[in-house]
């Protein structure tokens, strides 16, 4: 018995007697004797104060946003998380609930997810959203699988080089068994135009990202029509914060739009749990992966929420399901719904504006430093490429001494850019902090 196990010794005796065995080990005779009760070589158990102390110690070995000024992004962003989000997440009714398969006693989760879907539709302009994927990368990979199911007999996916390289890697992992060709991202420095050029009559899907991995904003109006004219679908990977101001995937004519929901109130959490946002057109609703919540009535005529269109899912359709996904990121979808509700129209716009303005400000001042060059051939939203006079690793090491976490080192992904870093600025970097970054770079 432990503090988590409420069966006492007396209970155990009574229960064993009811079962008709004399010892707890009698319940395990089906396990081959040679393999039964193996020793587990684990460290001795720790008490609660010891766990807390040890994990506090370990956690403080990490840099974090309360100790460092963070200018690192590349797919995970230091946006503000209102305290109200965590207040809701800490409610046992949400975080200790199961998947809402019993709708009569899961209306809380179901309504929250329905509202999440609705908010995402309003944010993206897309017609439907599902209840989430693991993260932006897997949402994108599932988009590719869906496209292959929608556009039959085409086995080519074109993905722009300017899509997050980790996402492109996940895409290739997911599709490796499916006899699909993935092209479009071969040439360093290439982008949407080069990828579009590769969309042909064997192509099921074109994948682009906006703002792209290097932070650049693109005008994608008309892109969907161009792609669809070639019989393919268009998937746009978006940034949910940028949508407070900038072009939606719907305006680009996207058939599928995916996003990483982390900036919507989830915090950094060393990479997860995050939130894969998946949206598409109404007409593809039977083709999508994952759970969907809809509205209906109960037998008394009361409005109620329920998981619907379940015949797509693995527990019903097994090997013919649209995906194997089961557990998703439901609680993160809830968190983002709380975040979006708090921000509302004005807040979403304001965060996008502050982020945009401060990024421009940072870029402008860094560009003035001798030896530094900012790539600003296009408008950018939150991130921008800085070409540095020395290797990025050296610069970041020096920044670290000043309590600053510098940008993402692009040398492995885009070596043609030289000593280039991707710097991210958000509403969590006040002007004084940006000035300090600039000054620190100047002093190096």
């Amino acid at each position: 018995m432990t503090h988590y196990i409420p069966i006492t010794d007396a209970d155990r005796q009574e229960m064993l007697q009811a079962i008709g065995v004399s010892d707890i080990t009698d319940l395990f005779t089906d396990v081959p004797a040679a393999y039964r009760f193996p020793p587990l070589r684990l460290p001795p158990p720790l008490s609660e104060p010891e766990i807390m102390a040890e994990l506090h110690r370990m956690s403080e070995l990490n840099a974090h946003t309360r100790r460092y000024q963070v200018f690192l992004g590349a797919g995970a962003y230091n946006h503000f998380v209102p305290a109200a989000v965590d207040q809701i997440l800490r409610r046992g009714e949400y975080y200790t609930a199961y998947t809402p398969y019993q709708p009569e006693i899961s209306q809380g989760t179901l309504q929250a997810i329905f509202e999440y879907q609705s908010l995402i539709c309003a944010l993206t302009g897309m017609e439907i959203a599902n209840a989430s994927h693991y993260d932006g990368a897997t949402a994108l990979a599932e988009a590719a699988i869906m496209a292959l199911n929608v556009v039959r007999n085409r086995r080519k996916i074109v993905v722009a080089r300017s899509v997050n390289p980790q996402y492109r890697a996940v895409l290739r992992t997911y599709l490796q068994g499916l006899d699909v060709e993935i092209v479009g991202d071969e040439t360093p420095g290439s982008g949407i135009a080069e990828a579009l050029a590769q969309v042909d009559d064997q192509t099921a899907l074109l994948i682009v990202q906006n703002p792209d991995f290097l932070g650049r904003l693109h005008n994608l109006r008309g892109l969907g029509a161009q792609v669809q004219a070639r019989g393919a679908l268009l998937a746009v990977h978006f940034d949910p914060i940028a949508l407070g101001l900038f072009q939606t995937p719907a305006e680009a004519g996207a058939d599928i739009a995916t996003g990483e929901g982390q900036p919507l109130g989830l915090g950094l959490s060393f990479g997860g749990p995050y939130l894969g946002i998946f949206t598409t057109r109404q007409k593809y609703v039977h083709k999508i992966a994952g759970r969907i919540v809809g509205v209906t009535k109960d037998v008394d005529g009361r409005m109620a929420y329920v998981l619907t269109l379940r015949a797509r899912e693995q527990d019903i359709r097994r090997e013919r399901a649209t995906s194997n996904i089961c557990t998703n990121q439901g609680l993160m979808a809830l968190a983002s719904a709380v975040y979006m509700s708090l921000m509302g129209k004005r807040g979403m716009r304001k965060v996008a504006e502050i982020t945009y303005q401060r990024a421009q400000y940072a870029a402008r001042h860094i560009a003035e430093l001798p030896g530094y060059r900012v790539l600003a051939d296009r408008p950018f939203f939150r991130e921008f490429v800085v070409q540095c006079p020395r290797p990025v690793a050296e610069i970041n090491a020096a920044l670290r001494e000043q309590g600053i976490i510098g940008g993402y080192d692009l040398s492995a992904d885009e070596p043609q850019l030289g000593n280039a870093m991707l710097l991210a600025v958000t509403e969590m970097n006040p002007p004084a902090e940006i000035d300090r970054l600039v000054q620190t770079l100047a002093d190096l």
């Binding site: 396990v31 199961y98 699988i145 997860g272 004005r346 993402y408």
Partner: protein
């Protein structure tokens, strides 16, 4: 007590967060790139309204913190509150996944240790923490099998054997990896039918996916032989860890002959289900398969520091970054809280509780296979003397009226009217006794007042739903006109 959609509280001009100003002179926005619709349909609310809304609807949920989930195969055990604190320590919750390894040594140490612990508990040589959920762990495993065979030039292995009692994720995963599913029969004792297995093994066999204990809650009696047969046929054994809560310190899948398995950290290792996620589907495997695991994994350098590395023949990454890290912190805390003896006590008690419920109910609810069970038992909702129109669904819905979450029903598919009950070790005998008494009472109602069961639930926030209407005329986002139409029908 109904709560309207949050959109109904919206009024122009409201905002729920007090944000800073940019604090600098504005530059003009690139007008051609702006969205055209001013976020039409996006609500505007204040913080009090948002909090009240989400607090109110939360009370319309069942949860572990408010009641008992005898939910087979889901391991709805208690989620320790200590874990909610440690996962929120700023050094974990506010650390950037791409910050230098030098600045992430605490997180890396935690991941390294968790890899080690999970490997030890399951008898595997290598662990990757990246998969985000059990199903992604499965996909990882099957892609690793595929890569392993291909790497050896063994290109014809396109079939995955899956028992008919398996979770739907198993066949769905095989299909997602481009492989063909071959279904295996179960025998009368609830084991895999060995003859059927032998008949279906072939040079096309990439591997077999097996949940052990299986979804009947039974330990596969021929597990060692099954592994031997599959290996002899050149296949690999995948272990679905959904039921791992039954065998911590009882048996190690790696020693039994499995080559690969996933752990559901959100089942066995107490990370919360979250109303459907996030989970964590870490995977473990033999040394032979380790080179194919997704990266990055964590290793310790000679100088004691920790670093990420990607195995040389990796199938690639399964998701961005390093897995659902927040869940890893919780799982680490759980393993270190329990220790070896504590983990064995977990499984022993989980099995004890399931057998207790089994023996106290099987005279009324026939047991699918009459054996000592592991952490869960599968009964049939076929009550002697009750009319045929009383179905398992009715029993399940009636349990709601008595304050219980229903068991898993109609699964596994091979058991008619299945009621799959997993009490877990974190419920008291008092609760089990209340549940048993309630199940017996419902059996009486099934005979005497079946209409009460058909009408159930009547004490839940809503009653049975028109699910057909939901699917036929789907309303999948807030649409006041569609909702008004629904309500006026």
């Amino acid at each position: 007590n109904e709560e309207p959609p949050i959109f109904t509280y919206s009024q122009p001009g409201k905002i729920g967060v007090n944000l800073p100003d940019a604090g600098i002179a504005s530059t003009p926005l690139p007008t051609e790139l702006l969205r055209q619709d001013d976020l039409a349909g996006f609500p505007e609310l204040t913080e009090p309204e948002v909090i009240r809304h989400f607090t109110r609807i939360s009370q319309r949920n069942y949860s572990i913190d408010t009641g008992f989930y005898p939910l087979g195969s889901c391991t709805m055990k208690y989620n320790p509150k200590l874990h909610e604190e440690v996962a929120r320590l700023p050094g974990f919750a506010a650390a950037h996944p791409l910050q230098d390894e030098e600045l992430s040594q605490g997180a890396l140490q935690l991941m390294y240790e968790l890899q080690t612990y999970l490997g030890e508990i399951s008898g595997f040589d290598a662990v990757s923490l990246q998969p985000a959920a059990g199903a992604q762990g499965e996909l990882t495993g099957i892609l690793v099998f595929r890569a392993y065979h291909l790497d050896r030039g063994d290109t014809d292995r396109t079939e995955v054997l899956v028992p008919d009692s398996a979770h739907g994720t198993n066949p769905a995963t095989a299909a997602m990896a481009g492989l063909k599913v071959v279904e295996l029969k179960s025998d009368a004792r609830g084991n895999v039918d060995l003859d059927d297995l032998k008949a279906k093994l072939s040079p096309r066999t990439a591997g077999m996916m097996l949940t052990n204990p299986n979804t009947l809650g039974l330990f596969e009696e021929h597990i060692v032989e099954i592994c031997r047969l599959v290996h002899e046929a050149g296949g690999l054994m995948y272990g679905d860890g959904a039921n791992f809560n039954a065998i911590l310190g009882i048996a190690k899948p790696g020693e039994l002959g499995f080559d690969f398995m996933h752990y559901n950290l959100h089942k066995t290792f107490t990370t919360p289900h979250g109303g459907g996620g996030p989970g964590s589907g870490a995977v473990g495997c033999t040394a032979a398969l380790a080179p194919y695991l997704p990266g990055p994994r964590v290793r310790q350098r000679a100088d004691g520091k920790y670093e990420f590395f990607t195995p040389e023949k990796s199938i690639g990454r399964m998701k961005a970054f390093h897995g659902n890290f927040g869940m890893l912190v919780r799982a680490w805390a759980y393993i270190r809280s329990m220790g070896a003896a504590g983990l064995r006590a977990v499984s022993e008690t989980a099995v004890l509780n399931a057998n207790y419920v089994r023996v106290m109910l099987k005279d009324i609810y026939p047991q699918a296979v009459d054996r000592i069970c592991m952490h869960e038992t599968v009964l049939r909702g076929q009550i002697a003397g009750a009319s045929k129109d009383v179905r398992t669904l009715d029993i399940a819905k009636r349990l709601i009226d008595y304050g219980f979450h229903p068991p898993t029903i109609y699964f596994p598919l091979i058991v008619p009217e299945a009621l799959m009950i997993e009490p877990t070790e974190t419920e008291s005998k008092q609760t089990l006794d209340r549940f048993i008494a309630t199940m017996r009472r419902i059996a009486g109602e099934a005979v005497e007042t079946p209409e009460v069961l058909h009408a159930a639930p009547t004490r839940a926030p809503v009653r049975r739903l028109d699910e057909v209407r939901a699917a036929r005329q789907p309303i999948l986002r807030y649409d006041p006109i569609a909702i008004a139409r629904l309500q006026s029908e």
